[in-house]
């Protein structure tokens, strides 16, 4: 192969992120961002949530939930900017913004979940 493209790797991240986002985000969004705050359903108490969060499996789960969908966004948004706004010539800036943003979010998620007391 004269020049091996790294696109397959980014596509894999995009795909797994897409599956995680499709399977998990709707229920999480509905429960934690709408139903519980608005009182449509009775959510767990503050203590209950905190103990859920502390569980090592929960931390890993939340890390995956927060990290992979960001890479899904990064890849998809990058191509939307290329094609939608026709600014592919700014690709270095776009790639840094998109994948850099995803990496930043991943690092933040890792930090938050690792340092939960």
């Amino acid at each position: 192969m004269s020049k091996r493209s790294n696109e397959p790797f980014l596509w894999m991240l995009f795909s797994t992120g897409g599956v995680v986002a499709a399977m998990l985000i709707p229920v999480h969004l509905f429960l934690f961002v709408l139903a519980f705050p608005l009182g449509l359903l009775d959510g767990p108490s503050y203590q209950g949530l905190l103990s859920l969060l502390r569980h090592p499996f929960a931390r890993l789960y939340l890390f995956v939930l927060c990290s992979l969908p960001l890479f899904h966004w990064a890849h998809r948004f990058r191509y939307t900017l290329y094609d939608g706004l026709q600014i592919k010539h700014l690709n270095e800036l776009i790639n840094t913004f998109c994948y850099g943003g995803a990496i930043l979010g991943t690092v933040l998620a890792a930090y938050l979940l690792w340092t939960t007391p």
Partner: protein, 247 residues
């Protein structure tokens, strides 16, 4: 069916015109006439200078692709009656440079098709004494759909990425590469991977899916491209796990 229908047809003469414009013609509205019949009527009886490509007039040669009311169509398979009372706008296929009137310059596609190496590639030739290749119906089934492509380029006219990205190989070229990769007689997948896995060869495809929608032969190029992406990704992973095994 009697009556007339109006055609608004793109005219462009490279030596005279700065840019293309529309010219109107009235043609008979016959229930069995297709847009191609109407264009031939214009050329025969009204305006002999109108230029367009066509050949078989039965949907197999792939020559007569044009935009009809903004949609890529084979004009030999598009009935006037379906657009009554009209008018019908007939323009050259989108995303290609216009040579003259309804004729577009397609050499970009031919270059990209060549890069996909759409022929059987063998590592070792079989001697004639071994006889012919044998293929089960199931083996044929893996690529038969993609072999139905007539190179009409409607998929290129429908693909927004091809219009925006000059390096994108395009639906038909990739579908034909996948046709040969999936063929049990072929041993050239790695040769095609070089060209098609290059950053803009296939990865610019964002699965808009319009290529499959407009294809008159049900080739499903979008499906072919997705299969190809999966294959290319598996090859990429393998090349990391077995670096010494790469040909």
């Amino acid at each position: 069916m009697t009556g007339k229908i109006t055609l608004e047809v793109t005219r462009y003469h490279p030596e005279r015109d700065k840019e293309p414009g529309l010219q109107t013609y009235e043609v008979p509205l016959r229930k069995e006439w297709v847009v191609l019949d109407a264009l031939n009527y214009v050329k025969d009886k009204v305006d002999g200078s109108l230029s367009f490509r066509w050949s078989c007039r039965m949907g197999i040669c792939g020559s007569c692709g044009m935009m009809v009311n903004g949609e890529p169509k084979l004009t030999c398979a598009t009935f006037l009656a379906d657009y009554a009372p009209g008018p019908i706008r007939v323009e050259p296929m989108k995303n290609f440079p216009i040579l003259r009137d309804l004729i577009v310059e397609v050499s970009d596609f031919l270059v990209k098709l060549g890069k996909a190496k759409p022929w059987l590639i063998r590592e070792e030739e079989r001697p004639l004494t071994e006889g012919e290749f044998l293929q089960t119906p199931a083996q044929l089934d893996t690529f038969k759909q993609f072999s139905m492509c007539i190179n009409c380029l409607l998929c290129y006219a429908a693909c927004p990425v091809y219009g925006l990205d000059p390096l994108f190989s395009g639906p038909a070229a990739i579908a034909l590469a996948q046709r040969y990769n999936a063929d049990s007689r072929d041993q050239g997948a790695h040769k095609r991977l070089d060209i098609l896995s290059h950053s803009d060869g296939i990865w610019a495809c964002t699965l808009v899916g319009e290529c499959t929608e407009v294809c008159p032969k049900n080739v499903d190029p979008a499906g072919a491209i997705q299969q190809y992406k999966l294959t290319a990704t598996k090859e990429w992973v393998k090349s990391f796990l077995i670096p010494w095994g790469r040909k």
